[in-house]
Symmetry: C2
Protein backbone atom coordinates (compact mmCIF):
# COMPACT_ATOMS: atom_id res chain seq x y z
CA UNK A 1 0.00 0.00 0.00
CA UNK A 2 1.70 3.19 -1.17
CA UNK A 3 0.60 6.67 -0.23
CA UNK A 4 1.53 9.89 -1.92
CA UNK A 5 3.45 11.91 0.63
CA UNK A 6 5.55 15.00 0.31
CA UNK A 7 7.88 17.14 2.42
CA UNK A 8 6.31 20.51 1.75
CA UNK A 9 9.52 21.96 0.31
CA UNK A 10 7.80 23.34 -2.79
CA UNK A 11 4.14 23.37 -1.70
CA UNK A 12 3.92 24.24 1.98
CA UNK A 13 2.65 22.84 4.36
CA UNK A 14 4.11 19.33 4.28
CA UNK A 15 2.29 16.02 4.73
CA UNK A 16 -0.73 17.39 2.90
CA UNK A 17 -1.30 14.05 1.09
CA UNK A 18 -1.87 12.20 4.35
CA UNK A 19 -3.69 15.22 5.84
CA UNK A 20 -6.19 15.05 2.97
CA UNK A 21 -6.45 11.25 3.26
CA UNK A 22 -7.14 11.56 7.00
CA UNK A 23 -9.78 14.28 6.46
CA UNK A 24 -7.67 16.82 8.30
CA UNK A 25 -7.24 19.11 5.29
CA UNK A 26 -9.70 19.80 2.41
CA UNK A 27 -8.57 18.36 -0.93
CA UNK A 28 -9.69 21.51 -2.83
CA UNK A 29 -7.45 23.63 -0.58
CA UNK A 30 -4.51 21.29 -1.14
CA UNK A 31 -4.90 21.59 -4.93
CA UNK A 32 -4.69 25.38 -4.58
CA UNK A 33 -1.39 25.32 -2.65
CA UNK A 34 0.97 27.41 -4.78
CA UNK A 35 4.71 27.30 -5.39
CA UNK A 36 5.84 30.70 -4.02
CA UNK A 37 8.33 31.13 -6.88
CA UNK A 38 6.41 30.05 -9.99
CA UNK A 39 2.87 30.40 -8.54
CA UNK A 40 2.04 27.04 -10.16
CA UNK A 41 -0.44 25.10 -8.03
CA UNK A 42 -0.09 21.66 -6.52
CA UNK A 43 -3.21 20.49 -8.37
CA UNK A 44 -1.93 21.64 -11.78
CA UNK A 45 1.50 20.14 -11.20
CA UNK A 46 0.03 16.77 -10.10
CA UNK A 47 -1.97 16.75 -13.34
CA UNK A 48 1.07 17.71 -15.45
CA UNK A 49 3.21 14.83 -14.11
CA UNK A 50 0.33 12.32 -14.28
CA UNK A 51 -0.09 11.88 -10.51
CA UNK A 52 -3.61 13.27 -10.24
CA UNK A 53 -4.87 9.73 -10.57
CA UNK A 54 -8.15 7.92 -10.04
CA UNK A 55 -7.45 6.58 -6.52
CA UNK A 56 -9.24 8.85 -4.07
CA UNK A 57 -7.07 10.41 -1.28
CA UNK A 58 -9.73 9.58 1.25
CA UNK A 59 -9.56 7.21 4.22
CA UNK A 60 -13.10 5.99 3.65
CA UNK A 61 -12.95 5.39 -0.08
CA UNK A 62 -9.37 4.12 0.06
CA UNK A 63 -8.95 2.61 3.53
CA UNK A 64 -5.84 1.22 5.21
CA UNK A 65 -5.91 -1.41 7.94
CA UNK A 66 -2.73 -0.05 9.53
CA UNK A 67 0.13 2.33 8.71
CA UNK A 68 3.82 1.65 9.38
CA UNK A 69 6.27 4.42 8.49
CA UNK A 70 10.02 4.09 8.19
CA UNK A 71 11.94 7.32 8.78
CA UNK A 72 15.33 8.64 9.77
CA UNK A 73 15.42 9.78 13.40
CA UNK A 74 16.43 13.43 12.78
CA UNK A 75 18.05 13.43 16.24
CA UNK A 76 21.14 11.69 17.58
CA UNK A 77 19.63 9.54 20.34
CA UNK A 78 20.16 6.31 18.36
CA UNK A 79 23.68 7.28 17.28
CA UNK A 80 24.72 8.29 20.80
CA UNK A 81 23.25 5.20 22.45
CA UNK A 82 24.48 2.91 19.63
CA UNK A 83 20.99 1.57 18.90
CA UNK A 84 19.82 0.53 15.48
CA UNK A 85 16.05 1.01 15.75
CA UNK A 86 13.82 3.52 17.51
CA UNK A 87 10.23 2.44 18.10
CA UNK A 88 8.15 5.60 18.15
CA UNK A 89 5.45 5.64 20.82
CA UNK A 90 4.16 9.21 20.34
CA UNK A 91 4.45 12.16 17.98
CA UNK A 92 4.40 15.69 19.32
CA UNK A 93 1.71 17.98 17.91
CA UNK A 94 2.56 20.93 15.69
CA UNK A 95 0.55 24.04 14.91
CA UNK A 96 1.65 26.68 12.44
CA UNK A 97 0.27 30.20 12.41
CA UNK A 98 0.65 33.35 10.37
CA UNK A 99 0.23 36.57 12.29
CA UNK A 100 -0.24 39.99 10.70
CA UNK A 101 0.18 43.14 12.77
CA UNK A 102 -1.14 46.32 11.25
CA UNK A 103 0.07 49.42 13.07
CA UNK A 104 0.79 52.90 11.76
CA UNK A 105 3.79 53.85 9.64
CA UNK A 106 5.33 57.05 11.02
CA UNK A 107 8.45 59.22 11.02
CA UNK A 108 11.10 58.05 13.51
CA UNK A 109 12.10 61.61 14.40
CA UNK A 110 8.82 63.40 14.86
CA UNK A 111 6.52 60.72 16.31
CA UNK A 112 6.60 60.56 20.15
CA UNK A 113 6.71 57.06 21.65
CA UNK A 114 3.29 57.30 23.29
CA UNK A 115 1.35 57.97 20.06
CA UNK A 116 3.05 55.23 18.02
CA UNK A 117 1.53 52.01 16.76
CA UNK A 118 4.82 50.26 16.04
CA UNK A 119 4.15 46.87 14.44
CA UNK A 120 7.64 45.57 15.32
CA UNK A 121 7.22 46.48 18.99
CA UNK A 122 3.96 44.49 19.02
CA UNK A 123 5.63 41.57 17.19
CA UNK A 124 8.52 41.64 19.69
CA UNK A 125 6.07 41.41 22.59
CA UNK A 126 4.52 38.34 21.00
CA UNK A 127 7.91 36.70 20.38
CA UNK A 128 8.73 37.10 24.08
CA UNK A 129 5.23 36.08 25.21
CA UNK A 130 5.58 32.83 23.24
CA UNK A 131 9.03 32.20 24.69
CA UNK A 132 7.73 32.64 28.24
CA UNK A 133 4.61 30.51 27.71
CA UNK A 134 6.60 27.74 25.98
CA UNK A 135 9.02 27.60 28.92
CA UNK A 136 6.13 27.43 31.40
CA UNK A 137 4.49 24.50 29.61
CA UNK A 138 7.54 22.58 28.28
CA UNK A 139 6.36 23.38 24.76
CA UNK A 140 8.59 24.73 22.00
CA UNK A 141 7.60 27.95 20.20
CA UNK A 142 9.50 29.51 17.31
CA UNK A 143 9.13 32.64 15.24
CA UNK A 144 11.34 31.77 12.28
CA UNK A 145 10.12 34.25 9.64
CA UNK A 146 9.40 37.94 10.22
CA UNK A 147 8.78 40.56 7.53
CA UNK A 148 8.31 44.30 7.72
CA UNK A 149 6.68 46.33 4.96
CA UNK A 150 9.08 48.75 3.19
CA UNK A 151 11.61 48.67 6.03
CA UNK A 152 13.50 51.94 6.52
CA UNK A 153 15.82 52.83 9.39
CA UNK A 154 14.10 56.17 10.11
CA UNK A 155 10.53 54.93 9.83
CA UNK A 156 8.38 53.36 12.57
CA UNK A 157 7.22 50.01 11.09
CA UNK A 158 3.51 50.10 10.30
CA UNK A 159 3.20 46.44 9.31
CA UNK A 160 4.76 43.16 10.38
CA UNK A 161 3.90 39.60 9.54
CA UNK A 162 5.47 36.52 11.06
CA UNK A 163 5.21 32.76 11.41
CA UNK A 164 4.72 30.78 14.61
CA UNK A 165 5.69 27.14 15.00
CA UNK A 166 4.21 25.68 18.22
CA UNK A 167 4.82 22.09 19.40
CA UNK A 168 3.85 19.97 22.39
CA UNK A 169 3.03 16.28 22.95
CA UNK A 170 -0.45 17.22 24.26
CA UNK A 171 -3.28 18.60 22.13
CA UNK A 172 -4.85 20.09 25.27
CA UNK A 173 -1.71 22.09 26.06
CA UNK A 174 -1.50 23.28 22.44
CA UNK A 175 -5.12 24.38 22.61
CA UNK A 176 -4.51 26.34 25.81
CA UNK A 177 -1.41 27.98 24.29
CA UNK A 178 -3.41 28.98 21.24
CA UNK A 179 -6.15 30.52 23.42
CA UNK A 180 -3.67 32.45 25.54
CA UNK A 181 -1.94 33.77 22.41
CA UNK A 182 -5.26 35.00 21.03
CA UNK A 183 -6.13 36.59 24.36
CA UNK A 184 -2.77 38.35 24.49
CA UNK A 185 -3.20 39.69 20.94
CA UNK A 186 -6.63 41.03 21.94
CA UNK A 187 -5.10 42.73 24.96
CA UNK A 188 -2.40 44.39 22.83
CA UNK A 189 -4.99 45.60 20.31
CA UNK A 190 -7.20 46.99 23.10
CA UNK A 191 -4.23 48.73 24.76
CA UNK A 192 -3.28 50.50 21.51
CA UNK A 193 -6.40 51.33 19.52
CA UNK A 194 -4.38 51.85 16.33
CA UNK A 195 -3.15 48.24 16.30
CA UNK A 196 -5.03 45.52 14.43
CA UNK A 197 -4.05 41.91 14.04
CA UNK A 198 -4.97 38.73 12.29
CA UNK A 199 -4.04 35.25 13.50
CA UNK A 200 -4.46 32.38 11.06
CA UNK A 201 -3.69 28.74 11.79
CA UNK A 202 -2.04 27.64 8.55
CA UNK A 203 -1.23 24.04 9.40
CA UNK A 204 -1.67 21.44 12.08
CA UNK A 205 -0.16 18.06 12.77
CA UNK A 206 -2.01 16.59 15.77
CA UNK A 207 -0.25 15.29 18.86
CA UNK A 208 -0.80 11.54 18.94
CA UNK A 209 0.01 8.50 21.03
CA UNK A 210 0.65 5.72 18.54
CA UNK A 211 -1.47 2.57 18.69
CA UNK A 212 -0.39 0.08 21.38
CA UNK A 213 -0.82 -2.98 19.15
CA UNK A 214 1.00 -1.45 16.17
CA UNK A 215 3.84 -0.33 18.46
CA UNK A 216 3.98 -3.80 20.07
CA UNK A 217 4.26 -5.48 16.68
CA UNK A 218 7.08 -3.11 15.69
CA UNK A 219 8.89 -3.92 18.94
CA UNK A 220 8.42 -7.63 18.25
CA UNK A 221 9.86 -7.26 14.73
CA UNK A 222 12.79 -5.18 16.04
CA UNK A 223 13.58 -7.84 18.64
CA UNK A 224 13.72 -10.49 15.92
CA UNK A 225 15.79 -8.42 13.45
CA UNK A 226 18.31 -6.48 15.60
CA UNK A 227 17.85 -8.02 19.06
CA UNK A 228 16.49 -6.63 22.32
CA UNK A 229 19.60 -4.59 23.19
CA UNK A 230 19.71 -2.76 19.87
CA UNK A 231 16.38 -0.93 19.85
CA UNK A 232 14.72 1.63 22.09
CA UNK A 233 11.38 3.38 22.54
CA UNK A 234 11.40 7.01 21.51
CA UNK A 235 9.18 10.03 20.80
CA UNK A 236 9.09 11.99 17.55
CA UNK A 237 9.59 15.75 17.80
CA UNK A 238 9.06 16.45 14.11
CA UNK A 239 5.79 16.16 12.20
CA UNK A 240 5.12 13.03 10.12
CA UNK A 241 2.46 11.52 7.89
CA UNK A 242 1.94 9.04 10.72
CA UNK A 243 0.59 11.82 12.94
CA UNK A 244 -2.24 12.11 10.42
CA UNK A 245 -2.85 8.43 9.65
CA UNK A 246 -2.82 7.72 13.41
CA UNK A 247 -6.03 9.72 13.74
CA UNK A 248 -7.73 7.05 11.57
CA UNK A 249 -5.90 3.69 11.75
CA UNK A 250 -3.42 1.87 14.02
CA UNK A 251 -0.06 3.45 13.22
CA UNK A 252 3.56 2.87 14.17
CA UNK A 253 6.86 4.48 13.18
CA UNK A 254 10.29 2.91 12.88
CA UNK A 255 13.26 5.23 13.29
CA UNK A 256 16.74 4.46 11.94
CA UNK A 257 19.86 6.45 12.90
CA UNK A 258 20.62 9.68 11.05
CA UNK A 259 24.23 10.83 11.17
CA UNK A 260 24.64 13.63 13.75
CA UNK A 261 20.88 14.18 13.68
CA UNK A 262 21.18 16.30 10.53
CA UNK A 263 18.15 16.28 8.25
CA UNK A 264 16.64 18.37 5.44
CA UNK A 265 20.21 19.13 4.40
CA UNK A 266 22.64 17.75 1.78
CA UNK A 267 24.57 16.38 4.79
CA UNK A 268 21.68 14.07 5.79
CA UNK A 269 23.05 10.51 5.85
CA UNK A 270 21.99 7.03 6.84
CA UNK A 271 24.14 4.07 5.75
CA UNK A 272 22.68 1.29 3.62
CA UNK A 273 23.10 -1.24 6.48
CA UNK A 274 21.24 1.00 8.95
CA UNK A 275 18.44 1.46 6.48
CA UNK B 1 28.96 80.85 0.32
CA UNK B 2 27.65 77.56 -1.08
CA UNK B 3 28.25 74.17 0.49
CA UNK B 4 27.88 70.80 -1.07
CA UNK B 5 25.11 69.04 0.84
CA UNK B 6 23.15 65.92 0.10
CA UNK B 7 20.20 63.99 1.46
CA UNK B 8 21.79 60.58 1.69
CA UNK B 9 19.24 58.99 -0.61
CA UNK B 10 21.87 57.34 -2.80
CA UNK B 11 24.92 57.40 -0.51
CA UNK B 12 23.84 56.89 3.09
CA UNK B 13 24.23 58.53 5.63
CA UNK B 14 22.99 61.99 4.71
CA UNK B 15 24.62 65.36 5.44
CA UNK B 16 28.06 63.84 4.91
CA UNK B 17 29.31 66.98 3.10
CA UNK B 18 28.77 69.13 6.18
CA UNK B 19 29.88 66.28 8.48
CA UNK B 20 33.21 66.16 6.66
CA UNK B 21 33.48 69.99 6.67
CA UNK B 22 32.84 70.05 10.43
CA UNK B 23 35.42 67.31 11.09
CA UNK B 24 32.70 64.92 12.32
CA UNK B 25 33.30 62.35 9.57
CA UNK B 26 36.57 61.41 7.80
CA UNK B 27 36.73 62.52 4.16
CA UNK B 28 38.34 59.22 3.07
CA UNK B 29 35.40 57.31 4.58
CA UNK B 30 32.89 59.57 2.80
CA UNK B 31 34.57 58.90 -0.55
CA UNK B 32 34.15 55.16 0.06
CA UNK B 33 30.35 55.39 0.69
CA UNK B 34 28.82 53.13 -1.95
CA UNK B 35 25.53 53.17 -3.80
CA UNK B 36 23.89 49.90 -2.61
CA UNK B 37 22.52 49.19 -6.11
CA UNK B 38 25.42 49.97 -8.47
CA UNK B 39 28.24 49.77 -5.85
CA UNK B 40 29.69 52.98 -7.37
CA UNK B 41 31.35 55.11 -4.68
CA UNK B 42 30.59 58.69 -3.71
CA UNK B 43 34.22 59.68 -4.47
CA UNK B 44 34.16 58.21 -7.98
CA UNK B 45 30.80 59.75 -8.77
CA UNK B 46 31.87 63.20 -7.55
CA UNK B 47 34.90 62.92 -9.87
CA UNK B 48 32.76 61.77 -12.81
CA UNK B 49 30.35 64.73 -12.57
CA UNK B 50 33.17 67.22 -11.97
CA UNK B 51 32.29 68.01 -8.33
CA UNK B 52 35.46 66.65 -6.71
CA UNK B 53 36.87 70.16 -6.94
CA UNK B 54 39.84 71.98 -5.46
CA UNK B 55 38.01 73.67 -2.54
CA UNK B 56 38.73 71.63 0.59
CA UNK B 57 35.68 70.37 2.55
CA UNK B 58 37.32 71.45 5.79
CA UNK B 59 36.21 74.10 8.27
CA UNK B 60 39.77 75.26 8.88
CA UNK B 61 40.93 75.49 5.26
CA UNK B 62 37.57 76.76 4.01
CA UNK B 63 36.04 78.63 6.97
CA UNK B 64 32.57 80.14 7.32
CA UNK B 65 31.77 83.04 9.65
CA UNK B 66 28.18 81.84 10.14
CA UNK B 67 25.69 79.36 8.61
CA UNK B 68 22.03 80.09 7.88
CA UNK B 69 19.95 77.22 6.48
CA UNK B 70 16.56 77.53 4.86
CA UNK B 71 14.47 74.35 5.06
CA UNK B 72 10.89 73.12 4.91
CA UNK B 73 9.51 72.37 8.37
CA UNK B 74 8.67 68.65 7.80
CA UNK B 75 5.93 69.03 10.46
CA UNK B 76 2.64 70.88 10.47
CA UNK B 77 3.14 73.31 13.36
CA UNK B 78 3.45 76.32 11.01
CA UNK B 79 0.51 75.23 8.86
CA UNK B 80 -1.72 74.57 11.89
CA UNK B 81 -0.83 77.84 13.63
CA UNK B 82 -0.93 79.80 10.35
CA UNK B 83 2.65 81.08 10.76
CA UNK B 84 4.98 81.77 7.87
CA UNK B 85 8.40 81.33 9.47
CA UNK B 86 9.80 79.00 12.13
CA UNK B 87 12.98 80.18 13.84
CA UNK B 88 14.81 77.03 14.91
CA UNK B 89 16.40 77.29 18.35
CA UNK B 90 17.66 73.71 18.71
CA UNK B 91 18.11 70.53 16.68
CA UNK B 92 17.57 67.17 18.31
CA UNK B 93 20.51 64.76 18.17
CA UNK B 94 20.35 61.57 16.13
CA UNK B 95 22.41 58.42 16.42
CA UNK B 96 22.11 55.49 14.06
CA UNK B 97 23.35 52.01 14.89
CA UNK B 98 23.58 48.64 13.24
CA UNK B 99 23.28 45.67 15.57
CA UNK B 100 24.16 42.10 14.64
CA UNK B 101 23.01 39.22 16.84
CA UNK B 102 24.71 35.90 16.23
CA UNK B 103 22.92 33.05 17.92
CA UNK B 104 22.60 29.41 16.89
CA UNK B 105 20.43 28.16 14.03
CA UNK B 106 18.46 25.12 15.22
CA UNK B 107 15.48 22.89 14.48
CA UNK B 108 12.20 24.32 15.82
CA UNK B 109 10.90 20.86 16.76
CA UNK B 110 13.82 19.20 18.46
CA UNK B 111 15.56 22.09 20.25
CA UNK B 112 14.24 22.71 23.79
CA UNK B 113 13.71 26.36 24.73
CA UNK B 114 16.41 26.40 27.41
CA UNK B 115 19.26 25.39 25.09
CA UNK B 116 18.36 27.81 22.30
CA UNK B 117 20.29 30.88 21.22
CA UNK B 118 17.44 32.46 19.26
CA UNK B 119 18.66 35.64 17.55
CA UNK B 120 15.10 36.96 17.10
CA UNK B 121 14.29 36.50 20.78
CA UNK B 122 17.40 38.56 21.64
CA UNK B 123 16.48 41.19 19.02
CA UNK B 124 12.92 41.37 20.43
CA UNK B 125 14.31 41.98 23.92
CA UNK B 126 16.36 44.88 22.56
CA UNK B 127 13.38 46.37 20.68
CA UNK B 128 11.39 46.40 23.93
CA UNK B 129 14.35 47.61 26.00
CA UNK B 130 14.74 50.59 23.65
CA UNK B 131 11.02 51.33 23.82
CA UNK B 132 11.09 51.34 27.62
CA UNK B 133 14.25 53.47 27.88
CA UNK B 134 13.00 55.96 25.28
CA UNK B 135 9.76 56.42 27.24
CA UNK B 136 11.70 56.92 30.48
CA UNK B 137 13.89 59.66 28.97
CA UNK B 138 11.48 61.34 26.50
CA UNK B 139 13.72 60.15 23.68
CA UNK B 140 12.48 58.43 20.53
CA UNK B 141 13.92 55.04 19.56
CA UNK B 142 13.03 53.11 16.42
CA UNK B 143 13.99 49.74 14.97
CA UNK B 144 12.88 50.22 11.37
CA UNK B 145 14.83 47.47 9.61
CA UNK B 146 15.24 43.89 10.81
CA UNK B 147 16.64 40.97 8.81
CA UNK B 148 16.95 37.28 9.62
CA UNK B 149 19.35 34.98 7.81
CA UNK B 150 17.63 32.31 5.65
CA UNK B 151 14.30 32.69 7.48
CA UNK B 152 12.28 29.47 7.74
CA UNK B 153 9.16 28.88 9.78
CA UNK B 154 10.49 25.69 11.40
CA UNK B 155 13.97 26.96 12.16
CA UNK B 156 15.15 28.88 15.23
CA UNK B 157 16.78 32.07 13.81
CA UNK B 158 20.55 31.96 14.26
CA UNK B 159 21.23 35.45 13.00
CA UNK B 160 19.48 38.81 13.10
CA UNK B 161 20.63 42.28 12.18
CA UNK B 162 18.72 45.48 12.70
CA UNK B 163 18.93 49.25 12.66
CA UNK B 164 18.40 51.61 15.59
CA UNK B 165 17.45 55.26 15.20
CA UNK B 166 17.83 57.12 18.52
CA UNK B 167 16.95 60.82 19.00
CA UNK B 168 16.94 63.29 21.87
CA UNK B 169 17.65 67.01 22.23
CA UNK B 170 20.48 66.29 24.72
CA UNK B 171 23.81 64.71 23.82
CA UNK B 172 24.22 63.65 27.45
CA UNK B 173 20.95 61.71 27.39
CA UNK B 174 21.90 60.08 24.07
CA UNK B 175 25.26 59.10 25.56
CA UNK B 176 23.58 57.50 28.58
CA UNK B 177 21.10 55.66 26.34
CA UNK B 178 23.98 54.33 24.23
CA UNK B 179 25.82 53.13 27.35
CA UNK B 180 22.75 51.42 28.77
CA UNK B 181 22.10 49.70 25.43
CA UNK B 182 25.66 48.38 25.36
CA UNK B 183 25.38 47.21 28.97
CA UNK B 184 22.11 45.42 28.20
CA UNK B 185 23.64 43.68 25.17
CA UNK B 186 26.54 42.55 27.39
CA UNK B 187 24.08 41.18 29.94
CA UNK B 188 22.19 39.25 27.26
CA UNK B 189 25.43 37.78 25.90
CA UNK B 190 26.59 36.79 29.39
CA UNK B 191 23.21 35.20 30.21
CA UNK B 192 23.33 33.05 27.06
CA UNK B 193 26.91 32.05 26.31
CA UNK B 194 26.02 31.11 22.72
CA UNK B 195 24.93 34.65 21.83
CA UNK B 196 27.38 37.16 20.37
CA UNK B 197 26.63 40.67 19.25
CA UNK B 198 28.16 43.64 17.52
CA UNK B 199 26.95 47.22 17.93
CA UNK B 200 28.21 49.77 15.45
CA UNK B 201 27.32 53.45 15.45
CA UNK B 202 26.85 54.13 11.73
CA UNK B 203 25.91 57.81 11.84
CA UNK B 204 25.49 60.71 14.20
CA UNK B 205 23.96 64.14 13.97
CA UNK B 206 24.77 65.92 17.23
CA UNK B 207 22.11 67.55 19.41
CA UNK B 208 22.73 71.28 19.32
CA UNK B 209 21.34 74.50 20.73
CA UNK B 210 21.69 77.00 17.92
CA UNK B 211 23.73 80.16 18.48
CA UNK B 212 21.86 82.91 20.40
CA UNK B 213 23.14 85.71 18.15
CA UNK B 214 22.44 83.88 14.89
CA UNK B 215 18.93 82.98 16.15
CA UNK B 216 18.35 86.61 17.26
CA UNK B 217 19.33 87.94 13.84
CA UNK B 218 16.97 85.45 12.16
CA UNK B 219 14.15 86.58 14.49
CA UNK B 220 14.96 90.19 13.64
CA UNK B 221 14.83 89.48 9.89
CA UNK B 222 11.56 87.52 10.30
CA UNK B 223 9.99 90.45 12.21
CA UNK B 224 10.89 92.77 9.36
CA UNK B 225 9.75 90.48 6.55
CA UNK B 226 6.57 88.72 7.86
CA UNK B 227 5.86 90.63 11.07
CA UNK B 228 5.96 89.59 14.74
CA UNK B 229 2.68 87.66 14.66
CA UNK B 230 3.66 85.48 11.70
CA UNK B 231 6.73 83.67 13.00
CA UNK B 232 7.41 81.35 15.92
CA UNK B 233 10.33 79.70 17.67
CA UNK B 234 10.55 75.96 17.06
CA UNK B 235 12.78 72.91 17.48
CA UNK B 236 13.91 70.63 14.66
CA UNK B 237 13.24 66.91 15.14
CA UNK B 238 15.00 65.82 11.94
CA UNK B 239 18.75 65.95 11.27
CA UNK B 240 20.19 68.82 9.24
CA UNK B 241 23.50 70.11 7.92
CA UNK B 242 23.09 72.89 10.49
CA UNK B 243 23.50 70.35 13.31
CA UNK B 244 27.01 69.82 11.97
CA UNK B 245 27.98 73.40 11.09
CA UNK B 246 26.68 74.48 14.53
CA UNK B 247 29.50 72.54 16.16
CA UNK B 248 31.95 74.98 14.47
CA UNK B 249 30.28 78.33 13.68
CA UNK B 250 27.21 80.38 14.74
CA UNK B 251 24.29 78.70 12.98
CA UNK B 252 20.58 79.35 12.56
CA UNK B 253 17.78 77.67 10.64
CA UNK B 254 14.73 79.18 9.01
CA UNK B 255 11.72 76.89 8.57
CA UNK B 256 8.97 77.51 6.04
CA UNK B 257 5.64 75.62 6.03
CA UNK B 258 5.47 72.22 4.37
CA UNK B 259 2.03 71.07 3.32
CA UNK B 260 0.64 68.55 5.86
CA UNK B 261 4.17 68.01 7.15
CA UNK B 262 4.92 65.58 4.32
CA UNK B 263 8.55 65.38 3.25
CA UNK B 264 10.87 62.99 1.38
CA UNK B 265 7.86 62.15 -0.78
CA UNK B 266 6.55 63.24 -4.19
CA UNK B 267 3.73 64.89 -2.20
CA UNK B 268 6.16 67.30 -0.49
CA UNK B 269 4.97 70.86 -1.26
CA UNK B 270 5.73 74.45 -0.29
CA UNK B 271 4.21 77.24 -2.36
CA UNK B 272 6.42 79.80 -4.08
CA UNK B 273 5.10 82.59 -1.82
CA UNK B 274 5.90 80.64 1.34
CA UNK B 275 9.39 79.90 0.08
Amino acid sequence: MLMLIREGARFSPGCSGSAVWAAQYPICKSYRLADPKSHLTFGDELKRIGYKGGVPANHMLNPLSAHFELHIEQRRLLQDSKKKIGVVTAIQGIRWYRVIIQGERAHAGSTPMDVRADALVVASKIVLFLEEKAKETSAVATVGVLNLDRPSSNTVPGYADFSIDLRHPSEAVLGRLESSLEKYLDELAIKNGKVEYSLERTWRSPAVDLDNNAVASTRYAATNVVGKSCFMDTVSLAGHDSALTATIVPTSMIFVPSKDGISHSPKEFTSEEEW
